[in-house]
């Protein structure tokens, strides 16, 4: 009984490690697919948004001209 339990645990570990390995292998047909994938993993640092907000508070963008509101 104990052996069975241990065996099933080992089996589970092996299958889990196999699954992990398969998840970390990626194949890309062309470089731009790889770049797209890389871009999707990229996170814009929050500090960019915060800095932008501060910059806009100091120097707000010009208001839309009144005549452009007609178009």
């Amino acid at each position: 009984m104990k052996f069975e339990k241990k065996f099933s645990q080992q089996e589970q570990q092996v299958s889990e490690s196999k699954m992990e390995a398969s998840q970390t292998i990626h194949e890309f047909a062309v470089p731009e697919e790889m770049l797209r994938f890389d871009a999707n993993q990229t996170v814009v640092p929050d500090s960019v948004a915060q800095r932008l907000s501060r910059s806009l508070q100091r120097h707000p963008p010009p208001a839309r001209p009144w005549w452009k509101r007609w178009f």
């Binding site: 999707n40 993993q41 907000s53 010009p62």
Partner: protein, 190 residues
């Protein structure tokens, strides 16, 4: 040809954080929709996270200031890319970081095996960024920019042609050579 891409990561791709206290919802939406692509372009063109952060800030600030002058001749994404490309180009010139590539790409192409025969394999995602950066750094500026722009599915060949000042046919031709150069260099690192 098999393509094993973990699509779950695409679905869970992190979104840019919204701009706090931004004067206009329109500008906040602009940032939300395009900041990751602009940041990624500057990151890979400049090869440095801090520089990319500064550049992304400057690009959006410039865009926000000029937003009302944007005539809509191109897509918003293409307009932002134009600002980012010019900005990075100016930065690189001022830093004297320009490298002169002579026949290096030709050598790479001569040694290149057909790109379609075997896909590019990547084992570890965490190493992927470094390897991509090294590979891109070894290419000419033109090839690097072409590959980065083509990677954005929102851009058409015509828009890329306008952004890179050439015809769409020229883009297609150069893209083929850029892929070969990238693939050969990338495989050397395996």
């Amino acid at each position: 040809m098999k393509l094993l891409v973990d699509n779950s990561s695409r679905e869970q791709a992190p979104q840019a954080s919204p701009l706090p206290d931004l004067a206009s919802d329109e500008l906040a939406a602009l940032y939300q929709a395009h900041s990751r692509e602009i940041y990624y372009l500057t990151l890979r063109l400049l090869g440095d996270a801090q520089r990319a952060e500064d550049a992304t800030h400057d690009v959006f600030l410039k865009a926000f200031r000029k937003y009302h002058d944007f005539r809509g001749d191109s897509s918003c994404r293409a307009w932002l890319y134009r600002i980012a490309i010019n900005h990075c180009s100016n930065l690189r010139q001022s830093w004297h970081n320009r490298h002169v590539f002579t026949s290096q790409d030709d050598v790479v192409e001569q040694n290149a095996s057909p790109v379609t025969d075997s896909p590019l394999r990547v084992l570890e995602i965490k190493e992927l960024g470094n390897r991509i950066q090294k590979t891109l750094d070894s290419l000419s500026e033109e090839y690097r920019l072409l590959l980065l722009l083509v990677a954005d599915e929102e851009l058409s060949y015509e828009e890329i042609a306008v952004l890179t000042d050439q015809t769409a046919d020229a883009v297609r031709g150069k893209l083929h050579r850029a892929r070969k150069a990238f693939t050969t260099t990338f495989r050397r690192g395996e």
